[in-house]
């Protein structure tokens, strides 16, 4: 039940939230705190990240299970602060542009346990000030983040726990396999990651998708359990085929490892970075970027 085509059904007339990458970025402002979904080099909203890069946006705080999103924003000098549990390209364990930014002191940082990070998103989603956890007790997480506080259980056990504060986000950017124009999002891969929490934690959430389909076709490719982003939590929908490139977006496509290696190598060589930037990051639209990819062959 609740699978397969529902074609022919009468669907309520829902608001059409479709927009372009540049229209999304026009709603963002310098200094904002922006959450970015996905995980490492997996299902990142890269067409939206590139739209930020070609805009003038700066002094951003980015909250993410970090991958090339954080790396690119570091390399382009758009980040004031990164909030993360890790920043990795998966097949290349250490993100080279992020490493450079940390080692040169170019960015401020909030480094947390990656499970504690989940609780920060959850707290913001549920509009509570914090969620408690043991993660951080005894490690350097607390000395690295002197603003973190502990809380004592009000019950008989009296246990002291770390209070992970809500990650209040001005905006969130996520990438889905499918969506409808009203902003219902669908993941068809093996893991949603924390994209629903990013959507709920943000004042405004912009969702890009490989394909925007009519609502009655949302169950054509996956069961009802894959519809994990309800439109209540989305404000804009961008159709972006290969929008997660070069990160993976299964089952639509895997990671472009060759392109990722090219990207990673730009951290060692300013000329290579300039060439990469002019070939791929200055493309004026996602469509032009896809054409540049084809030319790469």
């Amino acid at each position: 039940m609740w699978a397969g085509s529902q074609e022919g059904a009468i669907v309520a007339a829902m608001v059409d939230k479709r927009m372009t990458e540049d229209e999304v970025v026009a709603e963002l402002k310098d200094g904002m705190t922006i959450g970015i979904g996905g995980w490492g080099s997996r299902r990142k909203p890269m067409s939206l990240v590139r739209a930020i890069l070609r805009s003038g946006l700066k002094d951003l705080t980015v909250v993410a299970y970090g991958g090339p999103d954080i790396g690119l924003l570091c390399a382009a000098g758009r980040l004031r602060r990164a909030v993360y549990g890790f920043v990795s390209l998966d097949s290349i364990p250490l993100e080279p542009h992020f490493r450079q930014a940390r080692q040169s002191g170019a960015i401020e940082f909030t480094e947390l346990d990656e499970g504690a990070f989940y609780l920060g998103l959850l707290a913001a989603s549920h509009r509570v000030p914090f969620y408690p956890t043991r993660a951080g007790l005894g490690s350097d997480m607390l000395s690295m983040n002197p603003e973190l506080r502990t809380v004592t259980s009000p019950y008989d056990d009296g246990e002291e726990l770390v209070a992970i504060p809500a990650f209040k986000l001005d905006a969130a950017l996520i990438h889905m396999n499918r969506a409808d124009a009203a902003g219902n999002g669908q993941f068809l891969g093996p893991d949603l990651y924390f994209d629903d929490l990013f959507a709920m934690a943000a004042d405004k959430t912009y969702l890009s998708a490989e394909r925007v389909v009519p609502t009655e076709n949302l169950l054509d490719e996956g069961p009802v359990h894959t519809l994990r982003i309800p439109r209540l939590f989305t404000d804009g929908v961008v159709e972006a085929p290969r929008g997660a490139h070069f990160t993976e977006c299964p089952p639509d496509y895997g990671r472009d490892e060759s392109f990722q290696r090219t990207y990673a190598a730009t951290a060692r060589d300013p000329d290579a970075w300039e060439a990469f930037r002019s070939a791929y990051l200055e493309a004026p639209s996602h469509a032009e970027y896809l054409r540049a990819l084809e030319a790469r062959a």
Binding site: R99, D113, E114, R134, S139, P190, D191
Partner: protein, 255 residues
Amino acid sequence: MSALAEAAVDEVCVVACAEAFRGDGEILCNPIGTVPIVGGRLARATFEPDLAYTDTVSVLPANDFPVGDPDAPRVVESWVPYRTVFDIVWSGKRHVMMGASQIDQWGNQNIAAIGDFRQPKAQLLGLRGAPGNLLNHTTSYWVPNHSPRSFVAAVDVVSGPGYDRMRELGAPGNRYHEVRRVVSNLGVFDFQTDDNRMRVASVHPGVTVEQVVEATGFELAGTDDAAETRLPTDEELRLIREVLDPGGARKAEFR
């Protein structure tokens, strides 16, 4: 053919990693790194069949399959996306085997950064899940390059806290903390001492205690009566070589 004459150091290390999971029963076995991955799969394939196994790719595979082959057929027994992994961490039903860029005599582990974390000489992975793992369930470590640079007097950043930090924290916060063993390319180490200081449990065949002491940046306990790490059985060697790692991916971790 006797296993004694045939086992290579990487195979001894695989078995030493497998042994970390002995007695764990029905929990999530979560090894990170090639040698621990082969070790975790070996433990389940032999003496610890109730283990549920993941190397964090969203599903729990119930069959024995080779490392490093994304197309190897898997029998999926459950779906465990990252969010569920964290839920399992906090439930306590997990034993993780992580790497350590640095580890000290109390088992403090660093995978975050070398130098001052405010502006490190080398940014590494970040804290990842280490702070939460150590406070919630059993942890072991795999260090393929045992040297005074990895076994250090003091780690630069404490990602996963060791026994001195847990003594300071006290009860009840420390009650789920256990660093069970550290496996290196030279030996097996644990914290079965009066004050939970690191001890040589065994040295691998062909390695002397003196070599271990030389390669360690702090004083080790147990140097007087260290055993020899047990050798793989013939059946374990067959499983490692023919089923779990026929391509020899485990050998790449030794430099």
